[in-house]
Point group: C2
Chain length 470, copies 2
């Protein structure tokens, strides 16, 4: 699909050593963390700066070559799978932290910076970048921006979108634009900054970002509350919010998830509990102490069988790390792990968890559920086997019902994983025909030749997860 002439032009831009169309090189970037999708790109390119990105896009736009920007490929929606071939664009040369501005509380980064590296850099200056996707040890900030990543601290602090203040973006036509700035307030024109965040690389290529930092909280405290049934746990979530308490983290794990994590992490989790809440509060010493005292009382009053406060920082860290390892732990069970993120208003969590369990039983599937209870952002996770086509058929029908239920409860098909290829067939459930057509108009406005990550977000046909292309 890439002619020799175009290949020559691309190499002229990025350098011989940054263009790879070997079979081995392409294979590495033919899939991402979402199971079931694989497709070979025509080549992989690693530009060294925004001007090279601009020249590459100009060439791709002229020759109608698909271009897929990719960080570490940790997304769970097939968002970086080059389903229509073309170029995979890597940011390995654009991976510097450009500036930490302590006066304006901002950090300016290139897209290839690893999320956790950036978080640690900020923390070394007593500043704090809250969004903490579970993949943060390997994900890049560019990927987080493209997917609008969430994390465990979303309830109190918000998601990636809430921390992006300005972007430099290369458009399909090669134009380089800048949005926002180190500015708490800016209403000069449409909010393109947030439009690009979460647009999955379909509207432009982010080449630089100004992110907001906040003061690092003085301290944090962590506790585990154990329940004999899911309802009691869900009621505690509601009761905490009703008391006007907003913990930094408010995670829910059902028993099967708990068991799997304990088998994996071996830190003495209470695997006999039917449901567990992992609750963390951060802030000033006084506030944390007082909030956690109140939260502990609410948990106890709300029929928690036991409430265990982490005694040391190490113990607290082990608990949250264990929670973050849920996907890895679950992935050990069976060949294929499908981790979803149907999301509902917080008040509907108990109903949603019950519906998930009913649907799993109906289709005879093993679905664990854990997730960000405070956000209503649940991760029903099915451990299965791609090669079992009969079971995969049931998996698809089950998840379709789960998404329908989420929408019925006022929720959405994806809280933080993105649409990509995986959710594209379901997008209309949430947006209706009219919403999809408004979004398609935006896509066409930015990318009339559909070269930017084509095949993502909007379903070209009704292909769902069951169909596997290898």
């Amino acid at each position: 699909m890439i002619s020799n002439e175009v290949k020559k032009q691309l190499i002229e831009v990025a350098g011989e050593e940054n263009y790879d169309d070997s079979k081995a090189g392409r294979l590495v970037y033919s899939y991402d963390a979402a199971p079931q999708f694989q497709s070979m790109p025509d080549a992989v390119i690693a530009p060294r700066d925004k001007y090279e990105v601009s020249r590459i896009l100009t060439i791709c736009n002229k020759h109608r070559i698909p271009i897929v920007p990719r960080g570490s490929g940790t997304n769970l929606c097939g968002g970086t799978c080059p389903t229509e071939g073309g170029l995979v664009l890597l940011f390995k040369h654009m991976n510097r932290i450009l500036d930490i501005d302590e006066e304006n509380l901002t950090i300016t980064v290139q897209p290839g910076v690893i999320t956790l590296d950036m978080i640690l850099q900020a923390e070394s200056k007593q500043l704090f970048y809250p969004p903490d996707p579970s993949s943060m040890k390997i994900s890049t900030i560019g990927g987080n921006i493209n997917e609008n990543s969430g994390g465990l601290r979303g309830l109190k602090y918000g998601v990636t979108r809430d921390f992006v203040m300005g972007l430099e973006v290369v458009l399909a036509n090669g134009d380089i634009i800048r949005t926002g700035g180190k500015l708490a307030k800016d209403v000069a024109g449409y909010d393109l900054t947030r439009l690009f965040v979460g647009s999955e690389g379909t509207l432009g290529i982010v080449t630089e970002a100004i992110l907001k930092l906040v003061p690092k909280p003085e301290t944090k405290k962590t506790l585990l509350a154990l329940y004999e049934n899911i309802d009691a746990a869900a009621q505690t979530v509601s009761a905490i919010i009703a008391e006007k308490l907003i913990p930094a983290t408010l995670e829910f794990l059902d028993q099967p998830t708990l068991q799997v994590i304990e088998d994996y992490a071996k830190i003495g989790l209470p695997t006999n509990a039917k449901a567990v809440l992992l609750i963390e509060q951060d802030g000033s010493y006084d506030t944390v102490a007082r909030d956690m005292e109140k939260i502990e009382a609410i948990c106890k009053k709300g029929a928690a069988v036991s409430v265990q406060a982490a005694q040391t920082e190490e113990e607290a860290f082990a608990l949250t790390e264990a929670r973050r390892s849920a996907l890895s732990a679950l992935a050990r069970l069976k060949p294929t792990t499908i981790l979803e993120d149907a999301t509902v208003p917080r008040s509907e969590i108990a109903n949603m968890v019950k519906a998930i369990n009913d649907i799993a039983a109906k289709y005879d599937l093993s679905i664990c559920t854990f997730g960000h209870a405070g956000d209503g952002n649940l991760h029903p996770t099915c451990t299965t086997d791609l090669r079992n086509t009969d079971e995969m058929e049931r998996v698809e029908r089950a998840f379709e019902e789960i998404f329908e239920k989420a929408i019925e409860l006022g929720g959405t098909i994806t809280g933080e994983h993105g649409v990509g290829v995986v959710k594209a067939p379901y997008l209309e459930m949430k947006l209706k025909k009219e919403g999809i057509s408004a979004m398609k108009a935006v896509k066409t406005a930015f990318d009339p030749h559909n070269i930017l990550n084509p095949g993502k977000m909007f379903a070209s046909d009704s292909r769902k997860r069951v169909v596997v292309e290898r």
Copy 2:
């Protein structure tokens, strides 16, 4: 411009009593709070629900009739002036609070709700809606959304955009779409919610909004710090942030503003100070007490001549109310008041204030400056007289230089007032040609016939504030 046939259709939709094309009726809506712009609409219409809005838009789209959605018209950018005639659309029948959801911490409102009424309703349930534009006593929430209004509490809490979770919007073609929901996390497709916020009615008509609430802070404290020069005040602002303290409010007033406000409000403001910081912190009792103690110490160390803590809630309220009255107070001085909102990174405030004073002197103008120092959002305000064409010429040149300086310092031409007609000629300073053309593509995607608030945001020619059309 509206034929009898079309008028009949519009009356059929909204009812005889909700359609007014009398000269008196049109005159009322021929201008808004931005001086120097007036233009007669062809008629005024007040639909009763979203279906009527949809039918009105369908008619307007077919017959290419401009339509200008309008709340209370308190915007300062001419955003609701019907510069190209057509219909002004009022929300006087769509002004209900539909739901306060204490479990999900949301409030669902129609666009015609008065901002302060909504804030008070939320507070009656111990919840809090932070965005507080100075016009909140009369502004509507629909207007706030269209303009992405800021306010005095932006530093800590953010602006309107940060509190909009979901919208119902009628598009130019009559389609009714819903974005977002009562969802802390939602990445199903592009972030149209934030794209509509601040789009000044040029992309669609907002007919309902789900807004985020937060727990009401337990308490707040207010202090005034007095300075003998502007530099010292600006240094205090930086020092507070550098100490990782984020006050709810951190306002700056120069001496002329102070004098004018005192003449107006008569609450004993220290009019001999060259600059004043008004600082407010809210939160738990412990945190507020500790933060304010630290802030007081920083102010004193930073060469404040005097630091006065408000002794009672009434005194604190009087101080912030006085600050909110700045525009009204300044408006008494001369026939025309031009209040601008050039915004810079917080670290550049001292440089910006100095530049404003130099520019005022250069053009022999009276420009007071006050504003949200913590946000870098300044309000240089010129009191002048529209009929003095020589002076108005200088006013225009001065503001152009002020905007240039703001951009040079990494800032923007408008922090919270919007672009509208007033700032349209300056938009390219901030966005460059490429940025403008990306935004115009978005506009065309949503509104191909340019019926939604035409003439706003994008300058059709180089007409600046000096040219008055009466």
